[in-house]
Symmetry: C2
Subunit: 165 residues, 2 copies
């Protein structure tokens, strides 16, 4: 099975590769990945668990960055416009995008046990959405597709309460 956010992996590699990717993309597009923007992106990538705006704000504050809400919301807006992260509407949290060079709106699996998110890019889902929209003569601009449940790792791993008799 392919590697996902849910399965164990060298996550520091995810972070550094995401940042490198972002740097080159921004350079290429002539937009500025300023220190606060880059730091927000790193913080978002620190785990595969989506992170809230005010959590980011607290982390920035600890590091001596300016820490008023507009700072982080502006950074999130920029990163989102550049396709470097996605917002998860069902939980008001943000997660890094693995594939920022091609603008897209992802589909997400959100695990309620480990709180990690895995982005999907399913052509089946896209097609199903398109067929439904077409049936109604509806023109799609964007979408929010979030599947909430339990990931394989958390299903397989007995919970603490099940371990203790």
């Amino acid at each position: 099975m392919q590697s996902t956010a849910f399965s164990p992996h060298d996550h520091s590699h995810c972070i550094s590769s995401a940042i490198n990717h972002a740097q080159s993309l921004c350079a290429q597009r002539g937009v500025r990945l300023t220190p606060v923007r880059q730091r927000v992106l790193e913080l978002v990538w620190r785990s595969h668990q989506p992170i809230g705006a005010y959590e980011l704000l607290a982390a920035l504050a600890k590091e001596g960055f300016n820490s008023a809400p507009p700072t982080v919301y502006r950074a999130l807006e920029f990163l989102s416009e550049q396709g470097l992260l996605h917002k998860l509407d069902s939980i008001n949290a943000y997660v890094g995008c693995c594939n920022p060079e091609t603008p897209h709106q992802g589909h997400f699996l959100l695990c309620q046990v480990c709180n990690k998110a895995q982005e999907l890019e399913s052509q089946y889902i896209n097609l199903a959405l398109k067929v439904s929209a077409d049936q109604h003569g509806f023109e799609i601009q964007r979408h929010t597709i979030e599947i909430i449940g339990t990931c394989k790792e958390c299903i397989d791993k007995p919970s603490l309460s099940e371990l203790t008799p």
Copy 2:
């Protein structure tokens, strides 16, 4: 083409039928559709435009109902549990459910021009979601599926700015 929230129709019929439906369902289930709960449901159904919690609160206040946030959030929670309405996470608004007897999570078309919402129940979408989840060994509990764009009526109807030279 079938009738939808987007197309013109006798909406007072939608409202009264939704309320009748809700009354019999609640009776059947032995739960109480109290005055404030019923009024919230009516307000939600007043248009096919999803309505926000604080709009509901303001409407209740005008009518002499208690109007502190918990009042409306409790009613929304009850109605949601009973499958009588759905929350749209992408816009923090609530919309009546046409088919409350069978518990389900809907798929929605949201028009950004007329702000109306149409619930879909597409087996294609459900299947596509299930296939994607299965591929990852992921067990679905619920989902948020919202397609944002422009409805047929708003595409066909030239906008005001296009009408004036």
